[in-house]
């Protein structure tokens, strides 16, 4: 059902606003807050087009809504107005199960704080996305990717037994194990020292290039952002392209 398009991400006229005072996780705020007027608009009428196989960085100060933009682009959240199509598909037009299945096959994430499940070994953590799809070769593929990130000897280790850099490598293996067409990395080096961060970024770019995945990187770090094909800055509700 994939349409022939060269765009990996096509976001048009994207707006996101929240009811006042509940601009964070908790959707269960009381009615008391609702009558305190209107909504807070995070951004309005954003446009963003990313070609397949490109790497794009989104930079910007804290609190400007980078992560919210990411969840909109990744189909985790629905925009207040506007439309996002991924490889020509509008995820919000799909049913819940179809959407989940599409995301599972095509999208991966690398997080700032790794998000490995502590009770699972490196191998089990890596095969998790494939297990969600009930993939037959989950273990074999996970093993292969752990070897690729240089953790072949530590596949039975648990997160607590791994260093921060190693944990992020497991997270990278987990991200690539599904061979995604889109990879979102949200401050992937934020919890790592410079040198380790450097290695992680290298892995991320290498693998993206090798698998022709589109990489969307969110970061504070302009130096890191400059390694991407394109760079955008999100500030005061506006997304502006920055010359790399």
């Amino acid at each position: 059902m994939q349409l022939k398009t060269s765009l990996a991400i096509d976001a048009q006229q994207l707006s996101k606003s929240f009811p006042n005072k509940s601009a964070h996780t908790n959707s269960t705020k009381t009615a008391r807050d609702a009558n305190q007027t209107a909504e807070i608009s995070l951004f309005k009428n954003l446009d963003l087009q990313i070609n397949k196989g490109e790497s794009v960085a989104i930079i910007g100060p804290s609190g400007t809504g980078k992560s919210t933009l990411l969840s909109l682009l990744a189909g985790l959240d629905a925009p207040t107005a506007g439309k996002v199509t991924l490889s020509g598909i509008d995820l919000n037009s799909l049913g819940e199960a179809e959407k989940a299945a599409w995301r599972a096959k095509n999208i991966s994430f690398v997080f700032q704080s790794f998000h490995l499940l502590p009770e699972l070994s490196a191998l089990e953590n890596t095969q998790l996305p494939l297990d969600i799809q009930a993939h037959k070769q989950a273990q074999t593929l996970a093993r292969k990717w752990l070897e690729s990130v240089g953790l072949g000897a530590r596949i039975e280790h648990f997160p607590a037994q791994l260093s921060g850099g190693e944990q992020q490598r497991v997270a990278i293996a987990r991200a690539f194990v599904t061979q995604p067409s889109l990879l979102f990395a949200d401050e992937p080096t934020g919890n790592l020292d410079t040198k380790t961060g450097e290695n992680i970024i290298k892995l991320l770019f290498d693998f993206s290039a090798k698998t022709a995945a589109t990489l969307v990187l969110i970061t504070h770090d302009e130096h890191l952002a400059k390694r991407c094909d394109h760079m955008y800055k999100l500030s005061e509700g506006q997304l502006t392209k920055v010359q790399v």
């Binding site: 996780t25 990411l70 985790l76 819940e96 199960a97 959407k99 995301r103 499940l117 297990d131 989950a138």
Partner: protein, 816 residues
């Protein structure tokens, strides 16, 4: 107000919205309710049944005897300046309105009692009933459907009921307590014709006097007590040896132990979670200049205040429930002692101790938290190994103090823990096996496998606790409803349903004729009662091993009879029965217990006289034939010179039940025991006891459910986090929900099956050992328990789980 107090009260007010604080309070409350209920009930039952204080035994010193007490003893006592009063107590029929009720009758002399007072309604004017009248328990009036000043027949005599007994000392012991009581004058006893040599009765000599005289007399008599005699000093607690019911009351404390353990685990888990969530707050307070000492004071004070609230509520409700149960029991236990402050205070104090002991490894580390931890979340605060070990040791001390025995506390705790552990272990592996079987069949199977690995410790705990509780509950239910009925149903319909005892020799022929006229088949057996005194001419105590001398038959008089031909419900297993050759036939189990074989000589002490005979045969007796059975059967003529009565059993069909009143009317001195009634009474008592136990069990189940809630809450944030991650990695919301449901479902099913297996095993053991019934399966168990358990788990799970939409997932991950 000090800042510590101020902060603690503020904190406690804001904590009520926190789930972990609420479960902590709920567990504390449940624990105190249950332990209050069990402790007060157990203590009160125990003191009611065993208390030998002067007010209860009615004297300073009591000589109990199974033979009439000789006048020389009375004279000895009186010579020593001691006041005496003789009491004869026996069980017989009270008859009025064509109905008869088995009653416990006391024939007493002036003055009576020597200590304590009899309370009657209307208030009595004299110490003992006036001539021609008796005082009776209220329950007798209702059972005979008569009222005050009506007449009642005891034996051949008619009495007017002049007072209702409200309370009286000297009620005697044991199950005779359950019959309605009657007090009559001893000078009117003979005329009733009930007692004759060989009749069953208990004799007591009550004594009152200076303590020194009493002690001297007690010492003098103690050495020369005859068989079947005992001395009870009201001041001496050490000689209390509880009856079996009294012992049973102690078992209530064992079930209290179960709730203590449950509560302890729930409190520990809540505290752990609570303290974990208090890290940031503690670090903040420390950074603002509070000393660790003050910080701990705040938490200690807060815990104390929380305890206080839970204690007031828990103790009140526990006491209320206790009153409910006490009301049920008073019908059978007319003399119930009052509640002591100590037994009311036990539960809250124990809970306080447990709370602070558990606070040791959980809250103490909060004082050592570094301010840096305010910024970093990853390091969890846990107590050191040493703290946990001392916590366990202190807990054991507290529980031992409560149980009054380290050994019992240790053994029962270990038993429950290992049973729970076993159930948890089996459950965990059962679930794993199920998931293995599901592998490849459902899409969620691989995720489920990972989930199980992740939750294995919790699963073990949840399954262990829940299976154990369910199994106990199921056993109680089936015992109450099925087992007794099943047992009764297993008795052939034409089995004798009446026993007549205390038939005097001079009434034997008339009774035989009467039975013939009424077309009732009944064979009369002579009964002589005696105790085993010598084996092969040596004293019993000298020839038997420690274990053999514990045989119950040595401690009470045995019923003996003589026969020319052995009855058909007796089967010879060894030797020959020859009525011509003097000898005796002994029941097989007794012979084995005492190590006796053919040719051994057995001497009996019968009312002070010796009778020796050689064992010529050993018999198997069918105890459930509902016919008179005897341990010892002699050849004819050997027992004739001893005082004897007769016993018989017969069947009166339900439609001819009026014949039983005719019988009592015609033979007022015999005691008629209606087995059907006895069954109903036993069933009633058991039903009431089980109902009381069910109240306890339901509460225990409730604390189990609270513990499940606590556990689920413990890992709720973990579960939500995991759900968010799975959804971000491509799982649908439905999938994560299905995963949870599947997990709870498997957990519930496994728990239910394990509980059913445990209950089935327990029921089988009970059927076989206590009721002698064929072991049958209970398909209902296997159906209902898994369903109940599954519904419980899914219900609690869904309640706690909440909804997690995709939009929230990323934000949740970012936040953690």
């Amino acid at each position: 107000m000090t800042p510590v107090w101020h902060l603690a009260t503020k904190q406690i007010r804001s904590q009520w919205r926190r789930a972990d604080w609420l479960t902590l309070m709920l567990s504390l409350f449940m624990m105190m309710t249950l332990v209050t209920l069990l402790t007060t009930t157990s203590d009160r039952l125990y003191t009611s049944l065993t208390s030998q204080s002067a007010d209860i035994v009615g004297a300073d010193l009591v000589l109990r005897s199974q033979q009439p007490i000789g006048s020389e003893k009375i004279k000895q006592a009186q010579d020593a300046g001691i006041t005496t009063s003789a009491v004869t107590q026996f069980v017989s029929m009270a008859e009025a309105n064509e109905t008869n009720v088995l009653s416990t009758i006391r024939a007493v002399d002036n003055p009576y009692p020597l200590r304590g007072t009899i309370v009657t309604e209307p208030p009595k004017l004299q110490d003992i009933p006036a001539k021609g009248s008796v005082w009776v328990d209220k329950s007798l009036l209702s059972r005979l459907e008569i009222k005050l000043n009506d007449s009642v027949f005891i034996g051949y005599s008619e009495f007017s009921i002049s007072r209702i007994l409200i309370d009286s000392p000297d009620r005697g012991r044991g199950f005779a307590n359950f019959n309605p009581q009657i007090i009559m004058r001893s000078d009117e006893l003979e005329a009733t014709g009930i007692l004759a040599p060989g009749s069953r009765a208990r004799y007591r000599l009550l004594m009152r006097g200076e303590q020194a005289n009493i002690t001297a007399l007690q010492q003098q008599w103690q050495a020369t007590l005859a068989q079947g005699q005992s001395l009870i000093n009201a001041r001496d607690d050490s000689q209390i040896n509880g009856s079996s019911i009294a012992n049973a009351s102690r078992y209530l404390k064992l079930s209290a132990l179960l709730s203590l353990l449950l509560g302890t685990v729930a409190i520990l888990l809540s505290l752990q979670r609570y303290s974990n969530d208090q890290r940031t707050r503690s670090a903040l307070l420390l950074s603002l200049g509070m000393t660790p000492r003050q910080l701990l004071q705040v938490y200690a004070l807060q815990l104390f205040l929380g305890w206080l609230i839970a204690a007031v509520l828990g103790t009140t409700i526990g006491l209320g429930l206790h009153q409910l149960i006490a009301m049920q029991v008073t019908e059978y236990l007319p003399h119930i002692s009052s509640l002591s402050i100590a037994s009311i205070a036990t539960s809250p104090l124990l809970a306080l101790a447990i709370l602070f002991i558990l606070g040791l490894p959980t809250l103490l580390p909060l004082g050592q938290i570094s301010i840096l931890q305010m910024l970093r979340k990853e390091t969890a605060v846990t107590g050191s190994r040493k703290q946990y070990l001392s916590c366990a040791a202190l807990l054991l001390v507290a529980i031992s103090l409560y149980m009054n025995s380290i050994l019992v506390a240790l053994v029962i705790t270990l038993l429950l823990l290992s049973l729970g552990w076993l159930a948890g272990f089996v459950a965990q592996h059962g679930i794993r096996l199920c998931v293995k079987k599901l592998q490849g069949k459902i899409a969620l199977a691989p995720l489920l496998t990972l989930r199980l690995r992740q939750q294995r410790h919790w699963h073990r705990l949840q399954a262990g606790v829940f299976s154990l509780l369910l199994a106990i509950m199921a056993v109680l239910f089936f015992v109450r409803n099925d087992l007794i009925e099943q047992w009764q149903g297993s008795i052939p319909a034409d089995s004798p349903n009446h026993f007549a005892i205390n038939i005097q020799p001079w009434e034997k022929d008339r009774l035989n004729t009467w039975m013939l006229q009424q077309q009732i088949t009944a064979k009369l057996y002579p009964i002589v009662r005696g105790r085993i005194s010598h084996i092969n001419d040596q004293l019993v105590a000298d020839v038997l091993t420690q274990e053999q001398s514990q045989t119950h038959a040595l401690r009470r008089p045995l019923n003996m009879t003589w026969q020319a031909e052995l009855s058909d419900h007796n089967t010879l297993v060894k030797g020959q029965w020859n009525a011509e050759i003097a000898g005796l036939s002994i029941e097989r189990e007794l012979s084995e217990d005492l190590g006796l074989s053919l040719g051994d000589s057995l001497s009996m002490n019968i009312a002070g006289q010796q009778l020796s005979a050689d064992i010529t045969s050993i018999r198997e007796v069918d105890w459930e034939s509902f016919r008179p059975n005897f341990y010892l059967i002699y050849t004819p003529k050997m027992l004739e010179q001893f005082p004897l009565t007769y016993i018989t059993s017969f069947n009166i069909p339900e439609q001819e039940i009026a014949k039983s009143s005719l019988l009592v009317k015609a033979f007022p001195t015999l005691t008629l025991i209606d087995i059907d009634k006895l069954f109903k009474q036993a069933q009633d008592i058991i039903a009431k006891l089980v109902d009381s136990a069910s109240v306890v069990m339901s509460l225990t189940i409730l604390s189990g459910v609270i513990m499940l809630l606590t556990i689920l809450q413990q890992e709720l944030s973990q579960r939500r986090y995991e759900g968010a991650l799975l959804q971000t990695l491509g799982a649908s919301e439905k999938q994560t929900k299905q995963l949870d449901l599947l997990e709870f479902c498997l957990l519930g099913m496994t728990c239910g099956i394990i509980a059913a297996a445990m209950a089935e095993l327990l029921l089988a053991i009970m059927s076989a050992r206590f009721f002698d019934l064929p072991v049958t399966a209970h398909p209902m168990l296997w159906l209902s328990l898994p369903i109940i358990a599954t519904i419980t788990f899914i219900g609690i799970g869904l309640l706690v789980r909440g909804k997690l939409s995709l939009e929230d997932c990323y934000a949740l991950l970012k936040a953690s």
